[in-house]
């Protein structure tokens, strides 16, 4: 378990810089090329990575920070994603022994499954807030292509984030700490 804050700060800053660059691409560059209906939610990808590979007591706070930076680019705010992220991390902590990212196919599949958990958690909270089921149905149609893109990008991004967080490709971060 990674318990020292100093081991977390530098990778977290680099991760936040990557998130900012990706958010700028998805909010400014892709819409300019005509991709307006679908926005790739890179924050989900980063939060899922942290949930999968980072084992530290401060995980929920790290997720909150990532979501807070995401909220500068979206009026969605940080709250929904933080709750979904923390919930997913709790689920992952119970499944940690069976989750291994030994191949790209497994990474894509596992990412897709946990994006479904993310979708249901956020949709449930969104429904409680807005009391509108039609919004959830419409959200689902956008979620399908967006989540597939995220899952396909996952092996590549996880490899980059593995280097940043000094995590082994297959194991869990903090195993060797």
């Amino acid at each position: 378990m990674k318990t020292q804050i100093k081991d977390i700060i530098v990778p977290l800053i680099i991760t936040l810089l990557i998130l900012i660059v990706l958010e700028i691409i998805s909010t400014a560059l892709l819409p300019a090329f005509g991709v307006q209906k679908y926005i790739i939610p890179f924050n989900i990808l980063i939060v899922l990575y942290l949930g999968f590979k980072l084992e530290t007591p401060y995980l929920s706070v790290i997720i909150l920070i990532v979501q807070y930076f995401h909220s500068f680019f979206s009026i969605e705010g940080w709250e929904l994603g933080t709750i979904a992220g923390v919930f997913i991390c709790i689920v992952i902590s119970y499944l940690r022994d069976v989750l291994h990212f030994s191949s790209a196919i497994i990474t894509i599949t596992v990412t897709q499954i946990f994006q479904l958990v993310w979708f249901f958690t956020v949709s449930f909270l969104f429904y409680l807030k807005t009391n509108s089921f039609s919004l959830i149905v419409e959200k689902m149609w956008r979620f399908i292509p967006e989540s597939i893109v995220i899952s396909l990008l996952a092996p590549f991004f996880f490899a980059i984030l593995d280097r940043i967080w000094s995590s082994g490709g297959e194991g869990m971060l903090g195993d060797d700490a």
Binding site: T3, L29, G34
Partner: protein, 294 residues
């Protein structure tokens, strides 16, 4: 700082509960009509938005170079056609100017055209929202340029939305395509009232319209001026579909917005000079009605 393994688990549980509790409180108190930014948010958005603006600018410049120089093989032929069109437009413009003057005279005559106290601020769209769940545009004007929260945003074609989040130099506009944006509206021809809500990327729904109202396709929908948010008479769009069941009290009306949100580059923000006074009056009315309810 280093903590033990058992202690780590304890810290993890405490932090999880704490973060979830704060987030749940945040969701429950979130207001979809306006969002006041904190000083930190203000600084961060003002820091990142110029980068978004630069990226958009670079992309637009690249497109411009490509379209104007590389892809422009029939320039001279098009130039001739455009020159002809220009002369035609000039003659039309002349007649429009005459009509405008006539309009001013007639309005004065009818004592109808009291100028609305709105300052018009031109702004450029620099980015979109990072979540596809929300239809939000980021514009390059903010508090320093005179924008206010909940200011109406329009284009020449019609209504765009209102200012939802504001920083010193940038603002987020909640468009009428967003389901959280509700506009009190009326059908121009029959003066039937309803509430326009965002539905998808291309259309809005007009709800709570009486089933007996004789609405037809292509009827124009305007803002009604009720609700203390949008001025009266701004074009929202046209009726594109009507669902009228044999039962129920209302009919479902689908509206195609007059603004093409996919190609939106510039917008006009209407800022009321008397907002603070108006807000005080509204608050006084609201508190009076709340007291009566009690």
């Amino acid at each position: 700082m280093r903590i033990g393994e058992g202690e780590g688990q304890k810290t993890k549980i405490i932090l999880n509960v704490l973060v979830c509790a704060v987030a749940l409180y945040g969701i429950s108190t979130r207001d979809f009509t306006q969002h006041k930014t904190s000083a930190f948010e203000n600084v961060m958005i003002d820091f990142f938005a110029p980068i978004q603006k630069s990226v958009t600018f670079v992309q637009t410049s690249f497109n411009s170079v490509f379209e104007n120089y590389i892809a422009n093989v029939n320039a001279s032929k098009e130039n001739e056609k455009l020159n002809m069109k220009l002369s035609e437009m000039n003659s039309r413009l002349f007649s429009y100017k005459e009509m405008e003057l006539e309009n001013v005279r007639l309005k004065k005559l009818l004592d109808f055209g009291i100028e609305l106290p709105y300052k018009k601020i031109l702004a450029q769209v620099v980015a979109r929202d990072a979540s596809s769940d929300f239809r939000v545009l980021r514009i390059n004007k903010g508090l320093i340029d005179g924008l206010k929260l909940q200011s109406t945003v329009v284009t020449g074609e019609g209504l765009v939305g209102f200012v939802y989040r504001l920083t010193d130099h940038f603002a987020d506009v909640l468009t009428i395509l967003d389901p959280n944006n509700r506009v009190d509206s009326l059908v121009k021809r029959v003066r039937a009232h309803g509430i326009v809500e965002g539905d998808s990327d291309r259309q809005c729904l007009m709800k709570y319209v009486k089933r007996t109202e004789p609405i037809i396709l292509n009827d124009e929908i305007l803002t009604s001026g009720l609700g203390n948010l949008y001025p009266k008479g701004i074009l929202i769009g046209k009726v594109s579909r009507i669902e009228r069941e044999s039962y129920g009290m209302t009919q479902d009306v689908t509206i195609s917005p007059s603004v093409n949100f996919g190609k939106l580059e510039e917008v006009i923000v209407l800022v009321s000079d008397s907002d603070e006074k108006k807000d005080l009056e509204w608050n006084a009315l609201d508190s009076n009605s709340e007291e009566k309810d009690k």
